[in-house]
């Protein structure tokens, strides 16, 4: 018996006509939990606990290098409707076709965490975290075909940038000068909605709220060079935004042109409040600052 390779255990989403593998995935983690409580009593001698299972829950995390669907994912997490997820062994010829292995399972799950990273000179990536609601089931005799997943493409992090305005009225027109990293993180809170009416041991979950934050970092410029040539936000602008303490508008957009500052197609936009501005100056290292903005109201994925 051969050992199952990581590339042959894959996450699929069920669609009307079949299964669609999560493309360009690099890692996946499936977590099955028995939620226990200590039921030891005074009748028990010794100090050991007696964990008794109260309920079961599950989650799935997938990491992928495909961010061309960033807008689709940003819309999906806002929709707060569950996915039908499957994990299964894939065929070794293409690593995509599902095999209905003995360990394969399926279930309904909410996309509860989405992390999109666009770092300089690094392939952009996304992480999807799904929280299961209800039971995990076997998938034998599913009679579903595999949807075609054509060759993918990579996105380089430096070609997606954050644009900010100085207030909550003007359009965001300036990039963060000399930026290096950018992360857009969306999180949906879920509530355990299991009741006595619920059959079986598996917990049900319901989404309750959404929050998001944007994190970026940049080098601090001294005697300004690039920022004086082309409009861009510098540390002084971020300090002003922090001082004001009010929302500013943001875009995350594809870029091109001189210094990669020409805004192309916008991926997402909204308003946010600068909640944290951290300036770091380590010996023998370029000074840099890290800014965290918390989403203010809903974001938009319409271009």
């Amino acid at each position: 018996m051969a050992t199952l390779k990581g590339q042959n255990l894959r996450i699929y989403t069920r669609v009307d006509s079949g299964l669609k593998v999560v493309g360009m995935a690099t890692n996946c983690t499936i977590t099955l939990v028995n939620n226990v409580s200590d039921e030891s009593t005074k009748d028990d001698t010794g100090l050991a606990q007696k964990p008794i299972t109260q309920s079961k829950s599950w989650s799935v995390q997938v990491e992928s290098l495909n961010v061309t669907d960033a807008a689709t994912m940003l819309a999906a997490i806002k929709s707060m409707t569950p996915f039908n997820l499957i994990w299964d062994e894939s065929g070794t010829t293409d690593n995509k076709a599902h095999q209905e292995a003995d360990f394969a399972r399926c279930g309904s799950a909410y996309l509860t965490d989405l992390n999109l990273t666009f770092n300089d000179r690094t392939t952009a990536a996304k992480t999807l975290q799904f929280t299961g609601t209800g039971a995990v089931s076997t998938i034998t005799d599913m009679d579903l075909s595999d949807e075609t997943v054509p060759a993918g493409s990579y996105t380089k992090g430096q070609f997606v940038r954050l644009f900010l305005s100085s207030d909550n009225t003007a359009a965001p027109a300036s990039v963060i000068g000399c930026a290096r990293e950018l992360t857009l993180h969306i999180s949906v809170s879920v509530e355990n909605s299991t009741t006595k009416d619920t059959e079986g041991e598996w917990e049900n979950q319901e989404p309750t709220s959404l929050s998001y934050d944007i994190t970026t970092n940049a080098l601090v410029r001294s005697g300004d060079t690039i920022t004086s040539l082309v409009t861009a936000k510098g540390l002084d602008d971020l300090e002003t935004i922090h001082k004001n303490g009010t929302p500013v508008k943001w875009n995350i957009a594809n870029v091109s042109g001189d210094n990669q500052r020409t805004k192309g197609v916008v991926i997402a936009s909204g308003s946010a409040v600068l909640t944290n501005l951290e300036i770091q100056a380590q010996n023998k290292t370029g000074a840099q600052y890290r800014a965290t903005l918390n989403g203010y109201g809903d974001y938009t994925v319409s271009a």
Binding site: T13, V15, M24, A151, N254, S302
Partner: protein, 98 residues
Amino acid sequence: MSKTKTNAEVLDASNVETTETTEQPATEEVQAQTTAQDETPQQPAEATTQFLTANSREELTAAFEALKEQNPGKTLMAGAVGQKDDGTFELKVDFINN
């Protein structure tokens, strides 16, 4: 039909190719049906997907702006620009029929 779109509706997007801009669709893990966009004019909640390809980012932006003009009244959602092995650039666009 419920007013709230399901993920199947959001993600099971049709893959509508434009002959002048699309050589082949790119990786898309959560799309499904291949119903042509013009075959479902009576379903306002349907999303369809199109992949634009070009030789530069600037051309891709121009192609996207042209696509917007060709589709007044529709909401277009565009993802991050990807670069394929052959050096060409592509952009995934989802149409949301309002």
